[in-house]
């Protein structure tokens, strides 16, 4: 068990980092201009302080409505996730320092705070509350991009997560009914509760085929919002899967499919942030596969990879954001030759790209190889080959295709300046971590859940394998790069089901269904109609019995009778 330092907060045994940040974020509109910028940085600093000073143990546990609530379960697993979330919140705050939009700042901070809230939650109820708060706050980071596309995309994001939230809640209720406890540990019940909670977690982890909300929404978010988004939602889900579902075999295969799905679509992507978003799916696939395997090395690997991934993926999104911020363009087909005008951004981007590709001396190498090593130790050849294939694909798209067509390649005629200083500082900090962890992996390994970590990434075998794999991918890329020229096209993914197929079905049912329904009702009514027709034949307005003839003849006969009686009277 580790703790970085401890602080005696006045009047508190433990300052809940999330509650402090949420309350602090709500006060942001009280400040303006430079004062607000300083306040936001202080807030991020306080958040880091509260997280890093958290002592392992159980904090803030109480009874509420006869339920045991634990808001501060701090153990090795929750602490390592909270550390990287706190670092990321600070980097995100620096990157967004220049933005003048209170809604985005509040949303970003509440989002980060909720992610840490989920991680520290020791029971399923408080987990669920923070889970939903994450969704409600993060959607504003998409909407505040203020375009019709972002608006629609944000709504789809919200709806998918709302469905996920309902499934999770249903699972939690069933779980409580079955076990009588809300404690969040390994989920070991049978039946619906197990699957509902798992699906709820899998939606947030962007597990294929439930992943399309991510690649749909993240590229449409604000430039600074996408950096926050890339870090929190999927990685909190990785944490919850690791806590609740280690050694679940289905996750091995779903994870392996995720890695390949992501890299395949990334080869086709044109929008730079969509390409990177597909690589979130792919990279989270490694973590999910590690969780599925469930050995100590695999779980340590997944945790380490989540830590490293948050930092290099945020750096990738920050560099891509810098390009969009300075050029106003997001499509590879419209970019090119930027390295001379944004050299620092290029440098930072390449550090992140080398990290995600697991080049030696970067953070990805010391984390991803851990998961692969776990599979090698278990001699699971097929999954190992799938994950290695995805490794090659990662370098192909993020390390070669994107930088080649955005920074090198043909000159697009764009002459942007470097991004604002605060963005560069944020990128610099993330880049530092990418290299620092790669060079000094023991720093990261000390935080991992299963101690001691007996793993060395820098063996001759690993180095030879990794260098050969990546450099030969590079060789084939340069030979075939003509075929990879980005196209002005989009790609259909599983969101096609609810974006086109479902509305189309509804419209079809709406048009043809009405006619069919009316015909069906007419058939049902047919006997009634026959009875009605028959009845109206005699009793209707034109029916036999309704005719005035009897009345008319009655008058005639009365007249005849009267005439007859008159006649008789006269006789």
């Amino acid at each position: 068990m580790h703790e970085l330092f401890s602080i005696n907060w006045p009047g508190l045994t433990w300052l809940h980092p999330s509650l402090a940040l949420i309350l602090g974020a709500l006060l942001i509109p009280l400040f303006r201009g430079r004062v607000q910028q300083v306040y936001r940085l202080l807030l991020a600093g306080l958040f880091m302080l509260a997280v890093f000073s958290t002592v392992p143990g159980t904090h803030a546990s109480f009874r509420f409505l006869d339920l045991d609530i634990v808001m501060g379960r701090a153990d090795q697993l929750s602490l390592v996730f909270s550390y990287v979330f706190a670092i990321m919140a600070a980097i995100g705050a620096i990157y967004a320092l220049h933005v003048r939009d209170n809604v985005q700042h509040i949303a970003g901070f509440i989002y980060a705070a909720s992610a840490v809230g989920v991680v520290f939650a020791g029971d399923l109820l408080s987990l669920y509350v923070f889970w939903e708060l994450m969704m409600l706050s993060s959607v504003w980071l998409i909407w505040r991009n203020r375009s019709p596309v972002s608006f629609a995309s944000g709504f789809r994001y919200l709806l998918v997560h709302a469905v996920g939230g309902v499934l999770l809640l249903a699972g939690i209720v069933l779980y409580f009914a079955q076990t009588g406890s809300l404690a969040f540990d390994r989920i070991e019940v049978e039946g619906a509760a197990f699957w509902l909670i798992l699906i709820g977690f899998m939606i947030n982890a962007a597990v294929v085929p439930l992943h399309a909300w991510l690649t749909d929404a993240y590229p449409e978010a604000t430039i600074t919002g996408a950096v926050f988004l890339s870090a929190f939602t999927t990685k909190t889900a990785v944490y919850t899967l690791m806590r609740g579902y280690p050694e679940t075999e289905i996750l091995i295969w779903l994870g392996a499919v995720m890695t390949l799905w992501g890299v395949t679509y990334a080869v086709l992507a044109n929008n730079i942030r969509r390409l990177l978003a597909y690589h979130i799916v792919s990279q989270v696939g490694y973590m999910v596969a590690g969780i599925g395997l469930g050995t100590a090395l695999a779980l340590n690997g997944s945790t380490a990879h989540a830590f490293a991934h948050i930092l290099y993926k945020a750096l990738l999104f920050m560099s891509a954001g810098a390009i969009i911020h300075m050029t106003g363009r997001a499509k590879l087909s419209e970019l090119g030759g930027l390295y001379r005008y944004m050299p620092l951004t290029f440098l930072f981007y390449m550090i992140a790209a080398f990290s995600i590709s697991a080049f030696p001396l970067t953070s990805g190498f010391v984390s991803k190889t851990m998961i692969l090593e776990a599979y090698a130790e278990n001699q699971q050849a097929i999954v190992w080959l799938m994950l290695s294939l995805a490794s090659a694909g990662t370098f192909l798209s993020v390390g070669l295709k994107l930088p080649w067509f955005a920074f090198m390649g043909k000159d697009s005629g764009l002459r942007p300046k470097e991004a604002p200083l605060n963005m560069q500082v944020a990128m610099g900090i993330a880049a530092f971590f990418c290299i620092f962890i790669g060079v000094y992996p023991q720093w990261l390994y000390q935080f991992l859940p299963f101690q001691p970590v007996d793993y060395n990434a820098y063996t001759t075998g690993h180095l030879l394998w990794e260098f050969q794999l990546l450099l030969f991918v590079g060789l084939v890329f340069f030979l075939l790069r003509g075929y990879l020229t980005p196209k002005d096209k989009i790609t259909l993914d599983t969101d096609w089901a609810y974006r086109v197929a479902f509305p189309r079905t509804l419209r079809f049912v709406g048009e043809h269904g009405t006619t069919a329904w009316h015909a069906f009702l007419a058939t049902l009514r047919w006997p009634l109609v026959r009875v009605y027709e028959a009845a109206s034949k005699h009793h209707g307005p034109q029916g036999t019995l309704a005719k005035t003839r009897p009345t008319g003849s009655m008058v005639l006969w009365v007249a005849v009778l009267l005439a007859a009686s008159l006649l008789i009277y006269y006789l």
Binding site: P148, F151, A152, V263, T264, Y265, V267, L268, Y339, R340, P343, L344, F346, L347, A376, E377, Q379, A381, W384, S388, L389, A392, G393, L396, M408, T459, T460, G461, L464, W465, E466, F467, Q468, L469, L470, L471, F472, V473, G474, L475, V476, F477, L480, Y483, L484, K487, D488, K489, I490, T491, L492, D493, R499, V500, P503, R504, L506, R507
Partner: protein, 103 residues
């Protein structure tokens, strides 16, 4: 800026860089073939040079596979989603829809 000069230098000497990298790659394969294998959990780990073969094949498979998927199934024009739901009340910006209705 210094970085630009440095990058320009690399770009200018692209040919040299290419040959140095290729020589390095050849060296890697040779070393992997000569050195005794560090691992033997999978049979290919004992062969030597498998990383190079796997890397090349993987890249080829991914490019061909992805492009086949793209042209065969999933590539669409950029306006696909807008066109597909044109005229349906379930698409687009509701504010625009409202304006249209008012007009």
């Amino acid at each position: 800026m210094m970085i630009v000069k440095w990058l320009d230098f690399l770009v200018k000497h692209g040919q040299t860089l290419k040959w140095v990298t290729l020589a390095f790659m050849l060296g890697l394969v040779v070393i992997d073939l000569v050195l005794p294998s560090a691992y033997d959990r999978f049979v290919w780990e004992t062969w030597g040079g498998f990383g190079a073969l796997f890397g090349s094949l993987a890249c080829l498979i991914l490019i061909v596979g992805a492009k086949a998927l793209g042209f065969g199934l999933v590539y669409r024009s950029e306006n696909y989603y807008q066109d597909e739901l044109e005229g349906s009340e379930m698409s687009g910006d509701p504010r625009e829809q409202k304006e249209r209705d008012n007009a």
